[in-house]
């Protein structure tokens, strides 16, 4: 199931070299730290949604889950809860949200798009209602602050905390997808759900697991974003992030038809998206063009990927026919 990630890697290297050539400070330690930090944050969300996309589903509620977790964290601190307890509870809440999504999709047989679109609205609404829509901060939680947004110094280079979260998440996700039977089942059901069921795979249970993983990683991202920004606006924090996450997953080689995807691809794709933003700022391109550029690059990336795949498939068919002759 290993998919070619050379295309996206090439794109990353191209933009990287291009920016480094035209912007001298691009390679500075400070900028690299920032790039790593933001890429890690986006990649964690992207990995989450990749699981769902591999099953052939979609999760549009990621941004709202991020907003909800960030808001409730601030609220919990304000109400004087033990912050560590709050973190555990909120991660638990994220798992619960994923479970509900999964159950609605597999047992009630609603479409993932509908379920998570409603989730998007509901969680955003709850965030705003619970917090009275007030901007809030995270005072008096220095330990969590350094856990979620601190830096580990390597000489003068500070590795941002989200990177370590990403490393752990990525390794676990890659092991799950490529080394465990459930990962294999996930690919199989994404490719052909009936075929997987006829082979004795409990497709419903696995789909639920995918949605649980996705929401859990969204919740974790919520905490990371919260402490990175030290501030939460219940109406805005995390808005549209699901689209960046989905973009990263798709650009990273996940097919929305299901059954395909690699963790490494998603990470590189998330980095490409952040790199583009960084590059737009450093090269002094108008901020108004940012969305247009990101959109075009993703489109080109996905199109190139599709073409490469088709050429390879044709070559393979040709091989088989000659082999048969």
């Amino acid at each position: 199931m290993k998919k070619n990630i050379l295309g996206i890697l090439g794109l990353f290297i191209f933009i990287f070299i291009f920016t480094a050539y035209y912007s001298e400070p691009f390679l500075s330690a400070y900028n690299m730290q920032n790039l790593i930090k933001w890429s890690s944050l986006y990649a964690i969300m992207g990995i989450g949604v990749a699981f769902v996309i591999i099953t052939g589903g979609i999760d549009l509620s990621i941004g709202s889950v991020i907003g909800l977790v960030a808001s409730l964290m601030a609220l919990a601190i304000k109400k004087g809860w033990d912050p560590n307890f709050a973190v555990v509870m909120l991660l638990g809440l994220s798992l619960g949200i994923g479970l509900i999504h999964g159950l609605l999709i597999t047992k009630v047989k609603l479409q993932p798009f509908v379920v998570t679109l409603c989730g998007l609205l509901v969680y955003r609404g709850i965030s705003r209602w619970m917090t009275d829509n007030q901007t809030m901060q995270y005072p008096g939680t220095d330990k969590l602050d350094s856990l979620f947004s601190g830096k580990v110094l390597m000489g003068s280079f500070g590795l941002p905390a989200p990177l370590f979260f990403l490393i752990v998440v990525a390794i676990l996700a890659a092991i799950f997808l490529n080394r465990t039977i459930w990962g294999r089942y996930l690919f199989a059901l994404g490719n052909n759900e009936d075929g997987a069921r006829y082979s004795g795979i409990e497709t419903d249970r696995l789909k639920i697991v995918a949605y649980v993983i996705c929401s859990f990683l969204a919740g974790l991202s919520g905490l990371l974003f919260a402490y990175e920004l030290d501030s939460v606006q219940p109406a805005q924090t995390g808005e549209f992030y699901e689209l960046y996450a989905i973009a990263a997953a798709v650009l990273g080689g996940c097919s929305l038809r299901g059954g395909q995807g690699t963790i490494l691809g998603v990470i590189i794709a998330a980095a490409v998206i952040r790199l583009l933003r960084n590059s737009i700022n450093l090269l002094g391109i108008s901020t108004h063009l940012e969305y247009a550029i990101i959109g075009m690059v993703i489109l080109c990336g996905v199109a190139a990927d599709e073409i490469i795949k088709r050429v390879m498939a044709r070559r393979r068919t040709a091989q088989v026919t000659t082999a048969r002759k």
């Binding site: 400070p25 400070y30 920032n34 901007t135 109406a235 700022n281 108008s286 901020t287």
Partner: protein
């Protein structure tokens, strides 16, 4: 969005059912034949601690002046939300509205509709082409020049200055930015209302000061922060960062702190975010221009009440009530901060 609208419609329905009658009939509300309170509304342009402080002023005026009842609305997501809030208020038959228009030019027609049905004033940002009765605000151009002054104090020897702002569609943002630029380039003063604006992407080189291109973030916090980070990366000689919206200076400070350049890159700001005030106290930021937002709230209510009471003498000929601004530096930080704390507590208090 849908949820929000339905909730609001529901709220409006409940309100109409519950309060529709008493407000019409004299003396039905308070006992003893007291005059009914004017029902008015205070509408902001978004959600921000800044607006909580304004709300404090609203409440202060409500308590001190009496005879008015003011509801406060924070449109969470831009123009569309602000419009639907205003529409709901009209549906409710509100007597007076103070609004901070998000896009003055674009909203003119709609604001005129509002003004035809109720007493409309603007605060914080003006819509000069509309039929609003009066504008309660600051001369943002003048405030911008004062901010420019602060920059000059911060880096008397000159250097590169970069401006950060949420969006430049708003008149007040453009006026502030122009004030800063004009001051740093020692251009002559312009008159509010006739200010000519410079291009966004252009770099302005003066004798001492260079004003780099302005970056916008559309109120997205991570963009605000990464814009500041990227500026530090790109401009090695950056001397001063100027944040025009309340959340900008704290993001600049965070980026500077993480780059290990505290004190090296100066920060001048607008408004009174706690992080910025702390930085002023600690000497990491030069100062800030405070519009004393509670004065906006207070004055808006006061003016609306006067107009509703029939006293139009509060409206000056140029239709502009300047509540002024305060320059906050390390010299007066303590006094200012304690006042702000007092007002913040009042603003956060639930009715």
């Amino acid at each position: 969005m849908i949820k929000k609208l339905t909730m609001m419609a529901a709220a409006a329905a409940v309100f109409a059912a519950g309060c529709g009658k008493p407000s019409d009939g004299d003396g039905a509300t308070e006992g003893g034949g007291a005059k009914p309170k004017h029902k008015i509304a205070y509408v902001t342009n978004g959600i921000d601690p800044f607006w909580d402080l304004c709300a404090a002023g609203v409440k202060q005026a409500e308590n001190e002046l009496g005879g008015v009842e003011c509801e406060i609305h924070f449109p969470p997501k831009g123009l569309a939300d602000q419009k639907s809030i205003l529409e709901t208020l009209l549906t409710k038959g509100i007597k007076g509205i103070a609004v901070s228009p998000i896009d003055a030019d674009g909203q003119t027609k709609f604001l005129n509709e509002v003004a035809s049905e109720t007493v409309l004033i603007t605060h914080d940002a003006d819509a000069p082409k509309s039929n609003r009765q009066v504008y309660v605000g600051t001369d943002n151009y003048k405030a911008g020049r004062a901010l420019g002054q602060l920059v000059k104090e911060a880096i008397p020897d000159g250097g590169e200055v970069m401006i950060f702002v949420g969006r430049l569609e708003q008149l007040n943002a453009r006026q502030r930015r122009q004030g800063v630029i004009d001051e740093l380039l020692d251009r002559p003063h312009q008159v509010l209302g006739q200010v000519k604006f410079d291009e966004v992407a252009k770099v302005f080189k003066g004798d001492k000061y260079t004003v780099l291109d302005t970056r916008t973030d559309n109120f997205v916090m991570d963009t605000a922060k990464s814009n500041a980070e990227d500026a530090i990366t790109k401009h090695k000689d950056l001397a001063c960062m100027v944040g025009l919206f309340a959340y900008n200076p704290p993001r600049c400070l965070a980026a500077i702190r993480e780059a290990g350049k505290l004190g090296q890159i100066k920060v001048c700001g607008f408004d009174e975010d706690d992080d910025l005030l702390q930085a002023i106290k600690d000497g990491h930021a030069q100062g800030t221009i405070s519009q004393q937002p509670w004065k906006y709230g207070y004055n808006s209510v006061k003016v609306l009440k006067a107009i509703l009471d029939g006293d139009t003498s509060v409206i000056p000929a140029n239709k502009f009530i300047d509540v002024g601004f305060k320059v906050v530096t390390s010299k007066n930080i303590e006094a200012f901060w304690s006042e702000k704390r007092k007002m913040a507590a009042l603003g956060a208090k639930k009715d």
